[in-house]
C-alpha cells in the first residue's frame, strides 16, 4: 500500500523473490484478510452474492492471465474449459453422489486435460492462428456438450447440482458460500503468486518474451507451453465448478464465447501479466453490468422512457464493455494495475516529489 521503501536492502536473490517484498506487506495482507473476514457480517445478502461472483471470476481471471499474460499464448476458448469442469463436476456429483472435494479437483483435472489437447496447436502456431484455433476449440466443445445428452443431461443441456456440503451441513446461504468461495479464491491467488516466482513461472515469462530465444537457452517449449495450457485450464475448470455450485445448476449458456471474451476483458482491463490486475479486472467486469443496471434504474428515466430501460440495459452493457476494452487498449495498455501503481508511486514520495 502506501509506504516508504527506503531502508530495506535485499542482498540475496531469495530475498528479492520472497512472497512478501517488504515487511510491511505482511501488515497489508493482514488488514485485507481482516476486512474480508469481517465484511460478510455487515453486508446485505445481495452484496455478499456480488462478492461471491467476484471471487469466482478472480479464479478464472488468474488462470487466463497465467496463459495470456505470463506465457503469451492467446486463448479465446477459456469459457469452454470452464464448461468442461462444470459438467464433469455436475455429472460426478449427480450420478455418483461425490462430495465437492472430489468433484472440484476432478473438474479441474478434466479441464486441464482438454486444455492441453486444445493447446497442442500452440506448438506449431502462435498469435493470430492460435487465437483462431482456440476459438474453434470453444465452438467445438460448446457444440459437443450441447449435442451429447450423456454429458449435458438432456433437458436444456443443464444439470441441477446440490450445494456443497461441509462437515455435514449444506452451504445454503450466500453467507455460507462466501467462505467456501473465499477459500478457493485465496488458494488460487497464493498458488499463482508462487507459480510465477518459481522456475516454471520464469520459463513461462521467457516463452512470452520470445519463444525461440527461450528454446535456445534450454527451456523445453513443448512441455512448458502445454503445461501453461493445462494449469490455466485447471483454473478455468475450477472456476466452472465453483460457478456451478454457486448457481446450483450446470448450464452451457453460462460458458459461451461471450464469457470467454468477458474473461479476456478482465485481464486486459486489469492488466496483462499481473496478479493484482487479474483481481482488479474480475472486480471491474463483474461490477460493470450491476452498476449499469443500478444507474439506469435510478437515473435512466431522465433520458429514456420507463418502458425502454429494461431493453436498453443489455445493449448499454455491450457498448460500455466494448468501449472500455478499446479505451484501455489505446490509452492504458497495462490496465488498472498500472493506474494503481501510478497512484501508489505518486504517494510514495508525497509531498516531496520532485
Amino acid at each position: 500500500m502506501f509506504h516508504r521503501e527506503s531502508g530495506y536492502y535485499k542482498t540475496t536473490y531469495a530475498a528479492d523473490m520472497a512472497l512478501y517484498p517488504l515487511p510491511i506487506a505482511r501488515w497489508t495482507v493482514a488488514v485485507i484478510a481482516l476486512l474480508m473476514c469481517l465484511a460478510p457480517f455487515f453486508l446485505h445478502e445481495y452484496y455478499i452474492s456480488v462478492i461471491n461472483l467476484v471471487l469466482v471470476a478472480t479464479v478464472g481471471a488468474l488462470g487466463l492471465n497465467i496463459l495470456v499474460g505470463y506465457t503469451g499464448q492467446i486463448s479465446i476458448g477459456h469459457a469452454a474449459f470452464m464448461s468442461v469442469g462444470a459438467y464433469t463436476a455436475a455429472n460426478l456429483a449427480v450420478r455418483m453422489d461425490l462430495p465437492f472435494w472430489v468433484t472440484l479437483p476432478a473438474g479441474g483435472l478434466m479441464a486441464a486435460a482438454v486444455g492441453a489437447v486444445v493447446g497442442i496447436p500452440s506448438l506449431r502456431i502462435r498469435g493470430l492462428y492460435l487465437a483462431i484455433a482456440t476459438l474453434a476449440g470453444q465452438l467445438i466443445i460448446e457444440w459437443t456438450i450441447n449435442h451429447v445428452p450423456w454429458i449435458s443431461g438432456g433437458v436444456q443441456a443443464s444439470i441441477e447440482v446440490a450445494r456443497p456440503t461441509l462437515f455435514g451441513a449444506q452451504l445454503k446461504t450466500q453467507f455460507q458460500l462466501y467462505w467456501f468461495l473465499l477459500f478457493f479464491a485465496v488458494l488460487a491467488i497464493v498458488g499463482t503468486l508462487n507459480l510465477v516466482r518459481s522456475r516454471v513461472g520464469r520459463a513461462f515469462i521467457a516463452i512470452r518474451d520470445h519463444d525461440i530465444a527461450a528454446e535456445i537457452i534450454g527451456i523445453n517449449i513443448f512441455r512448458y507451453k502445454l503445461f501453461a495450457f493445462a494449469i490455466s485450464s485447471f483454473y478455468a475448470g475450477v472456476t466452472g465448478v465453483l460457478y456451478t455450485y454457486y448457481l446450483g445448476i450446470a448450464n452451457y449458456e453460462q460458458f459461451t464465447l461471450i464469457t470467454s471474451v468477458d474473461y479476456l476483458a478482465m485481464i486486459i482491463i486489469g492488466g496483462l501479466g499481473s496478479i493484482l490486475g487479474s483481481i482488479f479486472g474480475a472486480i471491474f467486469v463483474t461490477l460493470l453490468p450491476i452498476v449499469i443496471r443500478l444507474g439506469m434504474e435510478n437515473w435512466g428515466s431522465f433520458l429514456f422512457g420507463n418502458a425502454d430501460i429494461n431493453n436498453l440495459i443489455p445493449n448499454l452493457r455491450l457498448i460500455c464493455f466494448g468501449g472500455l476494452i478499446i479505451l484501455f487498449l489505446v490509452l492504458e495498455p497495462e490496465g488498472l494495475n498500472r493506474l494503481w501503481r501510478n497512484i501508489r508511486s505518486y504517494f510514495r514520495v508525497w509531498p516531496f516529489s520532485y
Binding site: P121, A131, A136, L139, I140, H147, L318, G322, L324
Partner: protein, 297 residues
Amino acid sequence: MFDWEFTLVLLTNGVLIGLMYSLIALGFVLVYKATDAINFAQGEFVMLAGFIVAGMLVLAGAPFWLGVAVAVLGMVAFGFGLERVVLRPLIGRPIIAVIMATIGLATVLRGAAPLFFGAETRSITLPISDEPFAFGPFTLPPVQVAGALLSLAFLAAFTWFFLKSRMGVAMRAVADNQQVAMAMGINVERYFAIAWGMAGIVSALGGLAWGALLGVDVHLALIGLKVFPVVILGGLDSIVGAIVGGLIVGVVENLAAGYLDPLVGGGTKDFAPYVLMILMLMIRPYGIFGKRRIERI
C-alpha cells in the same frame, strides 16, 4: 444406392453459399494483407452495413440505389474512422491488443446497432425477381446467385487492382515490408486507411447480399464466425484463397448437412468447417494459397 442428384444439389448450394462466404472473407483478407491487423469484427461490419441498407429502405423509404450508395459510403467512412481512432494507436503492439480491440469493437457494434435501428428483423428486397432459376433438377435462389456473382466480380476487381494498379502495387509493397515501403516514399498510414476503406466497401455489399438472404438483425453478425475457417483454409493473405476457402467451406458444410446430419441428429453444418480448419492449422497453418512466413530472431 448413391443418390447423384441429391449430391449435385448439395454441391451447387454449397458453391453458391461458399461464394457468399468468400464475399465476407474478402474484407478480412484485404485488411490482413495490407495492415497485418486481424478483424474479429468482420461479421459486425456486415451486420452494420445490412442495418444501414435496411434502415434506408424500410425506415427512410429511399430507393434501392440510394440505400446501397449510402451503405457503401457509410462503411468506407466507418473504415477510415476506425483505422484512425482505434487501430493506428495499436501499431507495433502485441497481436492480442489488435484482436481484443476488434472484439471490443464488435461488442460495441452489437450493442449500438439495435439502439439506432431497432431490435426487430428487417428484410432487404433486392430489385430482382423472386423466381428461382431452374436448371433441370436444380433450383437456384436468385439472392444467392446475385451474391455469388458479386463475389466473383470482386475477385476480378481486386486481382486487377493488386496486379496492375499503382495503388495496388503500393499496397502490396506495404504488406511486404512497411519500413522499405516507407523508404520508397509510400505513405504507409494512408494505405492502411485505404485498406480499411476497401474492407468497408466489401462489407457493405456483403451486408446487402447476406441481409437479403437472412434478414437484418443482430444475429447477422454470427456469419462473422464462418470467416475464420474460410480464411485459414484459403490462406490469410490471399484473395484467391478467400474464394477457394469459401467454396470449400460452403461445399463441406452442405455435404455435412446432407449426409452427417441424419446420422447424428443435426447441427453438423456449424461444426464441420471448424474441424477442417483445425486439421489445416495442424498441417499447413498458412493455408492453401497463403504466404509462408519465416521467423527470424
